[in-house]
Symmetry: C2
Subunit: 151 residues, 2 copies
DNA sequence: CCCATATCATTAGTACGCTAATTATAAGCC
DNA sequence: GGCTTATAATTAGCGTACTAATGATATGGG
């Protein structure tokens, strides 16, 4: 097979895998009234509570404006609370409600279970090598963007 | 490193790579008044003209309802035309306009160039291996969904 | 021929994602 | 202290994604 065909095939496989995983995860949590983005936010907040919105947005690689709406709905659903920071009156800290804590636990269970099932008999060394390759590719794309900005 | 950590790391790398590529590609085509989904549609239509909307939606793995809006805007931008099918009065066939053809060519150029730059010195066998693994994972996730539906 | 069923495109409504512009506050500098 | 600049959250507006419901047409069975 030609080099370019291999590359195209790889790109297609990458896109497909990524979307499949997201969709499957989404299906499993929507049954509990969640969505994939909310689940990601809950997961992160459970690990590191009381983040400012900007900080959470950075960690989830979302824009602040996107974060605002997401948190609006999570607040409506009783998953989180916005609390004013004492040090900086511009900042609002995000805290999980008890309900949010429960849902975060659920999210972790679903994720762990899915991970185990999907990677059941995947070789550890293969996984390690491919993770490295993916990281290389990601870095290469980031470089491209930088050059693109320079121009 | 523990098995579960490796798996998590792989998932993160996968998600990140996929998003980076999509974003980078998007940046390059928006300069020409396109978007990533429109570029994908143009690409597919250039390869296989006069598809019905449902067929195009299937190939791009989008819902028909999503396709409608996307094509609405592509029609407004003069990229495509909807033509009634002669065989089936429910069906509308999608044809590229001359402008659409031009843009499709541009899309292909951008994609080819990006592909070459990103994969410049990636080993062919590595790529093959990763593609296989990704396909395995995709299949595994698909199986999970089926079982989930059964339950 | 007719009716039940299926399929195509569409609309309505919701949820994300982005950029750009606004408002409130903070921080640095003369 | 007052002015410039930077940062936090928000709003507004767009584009894309989904599901559910609709209306028009096809299709197969009796």
């Amino acid at each position: 097979m030609k080099r370019s065909e291999l590359q195209s095939e790889f790109l297609e496989a990458l896109t497909k895998a990524s979307r499949k995983i997201r969709t499957a995860f989404n299906q499993r949590v929507t049954a509990h009234g969640l969505t994939y983005p909310r689940a990601r936010a809950l997961w992160r907040l459970a690990e590191k509570p009381d983040m400012a919105q900007a900080e959470l947005a950075f960690e989830l690689e979302l824009e602040q404006a996107t974060m605002v709406r997401l948190l609006d709905r999570m607040e409506e659903n009783g998953l989180i609370e916005r609390r004013p920071s004492l040090n900086d009156r511009r900042v609002k800290l995000i805290a999980l409600t008890p309900h949010g804590e429960e849902q975060a636990t659920l999210v972790r269970c679903v994720a762990d279970q899915m991970r185990q099932e999907v990677f059941a008999d995947i070789d550890k060394d293969d996984l390690r090598g491919l993770t490295l390759l993916l990281q290389t590719i990601t870095g290469r794309v980031a470089d491209l963007e930088d050059h693109h900005v320079d121009a």
